[in-house]
């Protein structure tokens, strides 16, 4: 019993460390003054902490613009992905149509197509359509990348809401749409929020398409990659950039997690 408990705690600690270690390391590195960063051997725990690098990083106009771009692209992606995925997921969850399994598999199979192979034709097409170097263009690609997963998540979320609840609402006078809005949607909201977070993080982290399809309107990861690869940005800049990429994901997960658990003021069982 005690041994089992010990093993459980050890496993929990290990898992936590696995997740937290990189975050802690990058946070520490980002908060280490420039001189200390280049010292050898570098102490594991820096002697002094300073936010000088982070604040100077955050004050750069290019970074702020890229941050804004990233948020705009992610927001746009969430809207577009939800518009496409929610009806598709609902249909997959509710209607037993012919070939449903095949459709479901086909949706996932699109993920097997390498995005790299699409890069050049996509760039050409976007230039032709006037989408090249626009936020909408990047958001469209991110939507395409996230939609297969989001459809499957949303379908399972809707499957979790019993069809009888919709039928009850309809028997009480609601239309099909009304039943969805009043019953299914509020009940699916936590799951839909999770899908939205997923989409946000996918878009926030996406580098490849964002780098290829933009020149002046770069998102934050694209900006960082560009400055590191093309301009050879110094170490402290990289750490600060890395920390900036991690931060919003953490904040959002912390905020949403509580929301997921206490949505209806009662424990959701």
């Amino acid at each position: 019993m005690t041994l089992r408990k010990l093993g459980l705690y050890a496993a929990a600690l290990l898992l936590t460390a696995w997740v937290l270690a990189p975050i802690v390391l990058i946070a520490l590195a980002a908060a280490t003054p420039r001189e200390d960063l280049y010292r050898w051997p570098r102490p594991l725990w820096p002697e002094r902490l300073s936010f000088e690098i982070l604040s100077s990083f955050a004050r750069q106009e290019a970074v702020l613009r890229a941050l804004g771009n990233s948020l705009a692209v992610a927001g746009l992606t969430i809207v577009l992905a939800t518009l496409v995925s929610a009806p598709a997921g609902y249909a997959l969850a509710r209607y037993p149509f012919r070939g449903r399994e095949a459709v479901q598999l086909g949706i996932l199979a699109t993920k097997m197509f390498p995005a790299t192979a699409l890069a050049v034709p996509l760039a050409v097409a976007f230039i032709r359509w006037g989408l090249y170097d626009t936020l909408l263009g990047v958001a469209l690609v991110h939507t395409a990348l996230s939609v297969p997963f989001v459809i499957l998540i949303v379908a399972s979320v809707f499957r979790g809401v019993p069809a009888e609840l919709e039928e009850a609402a309809m028997s009480l006078g609601a239309s099909r749409v009304g039943a969805f809005i009043r019953v299914t949607f509020p009940m699916a909201l936590p799951g839909l929020a999770a899908a939205a977070i997923f989409t946000f993080i996918l878009s926030w982290n996406e580098v490849f398409a964002a780098t290829l399809l933009t020149v002046n309107h770069r998102t934050l990861p694209a900006l960082l990659v560009h400055s590191v690869v093309a301009e050879g940005a110094p170490l402290h800049y990289r750490y600060a950039g890395g920390f900036f990429l991690v931060l919003p994901a953490l904040v959002i997960i912390f905020v949403i997690r509580r929301y997921l658990l206490t949505l209806w003021g009662v424990t959701v069982r």
Partner: protein
């Protein structure tokens, strides 16, 4: 309040025919139970009435209005689901008020009517809770209140008691009966529990493989089942059946070689079957033990409180006999059985359908 008329309803799911050619006329204010084993199509019939399914053929009339193509919300009905289907994200009050809001009833009137129906179902002190905070019996009451508050013409219930424990089920069964007397709405009630059907229904429709095999009052169905299936499905233990023949000379019944006088009511039907096989049914409480021409050995004696149930093996049959609780029969004992003429129910040996009585 309205009458319901089902005309030749037919519904299939893929290759499975769930409902075939069901026609029923349910009177205004009547409590009708759809009874049958699982998979007999009773729930599908209810869902066709509700508008949750569309029939492949046939029509549904409620209160003289053809509602076959109308969505559920415009049929003026209330439905209680087996799972109760309470909205978990709404308080009890909002659950009950849902139908009123859909009908655009004013806020003050909503409150008045919710409180009225809450009083009727004794859930007035639960209105601020969420469904997750209620017990099974309370949820059931809320589900009924939610269906009743809109004062529907028709109340539909799909196995509403099946998720309750035995004692609560007994209690709620009586409650539902009281409720129906007070509200008086035309009610269609689906169950696979024959006791529920007998105790609640003004009339019971027995379904089998998507068809109505008998539609009558509970006593009539119990006393005069339309076929062997109904005889064995209703009653606990089920009706006894004997393979017998009709005597070629005098038209009496021969069960295991023993002669029994045939009931007069069947005289005409038997006349054309002389010398042929026949199926003889009798309820366990009507088999008399003590004197009689049929010999058997008691295999099991089960005291059930109000009565004692004997399983008797005769030469060719196993017979269930219900006797008084003080009956002295013991396992291994040899007994004589009689099959009183008045209680014999005769059926065709092939079709197993009841023979016509006069």
């Amino acid at each position: 309040m309205a009458e319901i008329r089902l005309e030749g309803l037919h519904k299939r799911f893929g290759r499975v025919v769930a409902v075939r050619d069901v026609s029923l006329e349910i009177r205004e204010g009547e409590f009708v139970v759809l009874l049958g084993p699982s998979g007999c199509g009773k729930t599908t019939v209810l869902r066709l009435v509700a508008g949750l399914e569309t029939p492949d053929r046939g029509r549904v009339w409620i209160g003289g209005r053809d509602v076959t193509r109308l969505p559920p919300g415009r049929r003026d009905l209330g439905m209680v689901f087996q799972s109760y289907a309470l909205f978990p994200h709404m308080r009890v009050f909002d659950n009950v008020a849902f139908g009123l809001r859909m009908r655009g009833v004013g806020v003050a009137e909503q409150r008045r009517r919710v409180e009225e129906v809450a009083e009727l179902l004794q859930i007035a002190d639960l209105l601020d809770r969420y469904p997750a905070q209620l017990s099974g019996g309370q949820r059931q009451r809320v589900a009924v209140a939610r269906a009743l508050v809109v004062r529907p013409q028709v109340l539909l219930m799909d196995e509403p008691l099946s998720n309750l424990d035995a004692l609560l089920r007994l209690h709620m069964r009586a409650e539902l009966k009281r409720l129906h007397r007070e509200v008086g709405s035309t009610t269609v009630y689906v169950t696979h529990d024959q006791v529920e059907a007998m105790s609640l229904g003004d009339r019971v429709a027995v379904l089998r493989e998507g068809q109505v095999v008998q539609f009558d009052t509970p006593t009539q169905i119990y006393d005069h089942p339309s076929d062997r299936f109904v005889g064995s499905f209703l009653g606990n233990p089920p009706m006894n059946f004997f393979q017998a023949t009709v005597d070629p000379e005098d038209g009496s019944l021969r069960v295991e070689g023993v002669k029994f006088p045939a009931p007069v009511a069947y005289a005409q039907a038997l006349a054309e079957r002389r010398g042929g096989p026949i199926l003889v049914g009798i309820r366990p409480e009507h088999v008399s033990v003590g004197t009689g021409p049929l010999r058997g050995e008691v295999l099991v004696a089960e005291p059930l409180g109000a009565q004692k149930l004997l399983t008797v093996r005769t030469a060719q049959h196993l017979v269930k006999v219900a006797v008084g609780p003080d009956h002295a029969a013991r396992p291994g004992e040899h007994v004589a059985l009689d099959l009183p003429e008045a209680h014999l129910r005769l059926m065709d040996a092939q079709t197993e359908r009841a023979l016509p009585r006069r």
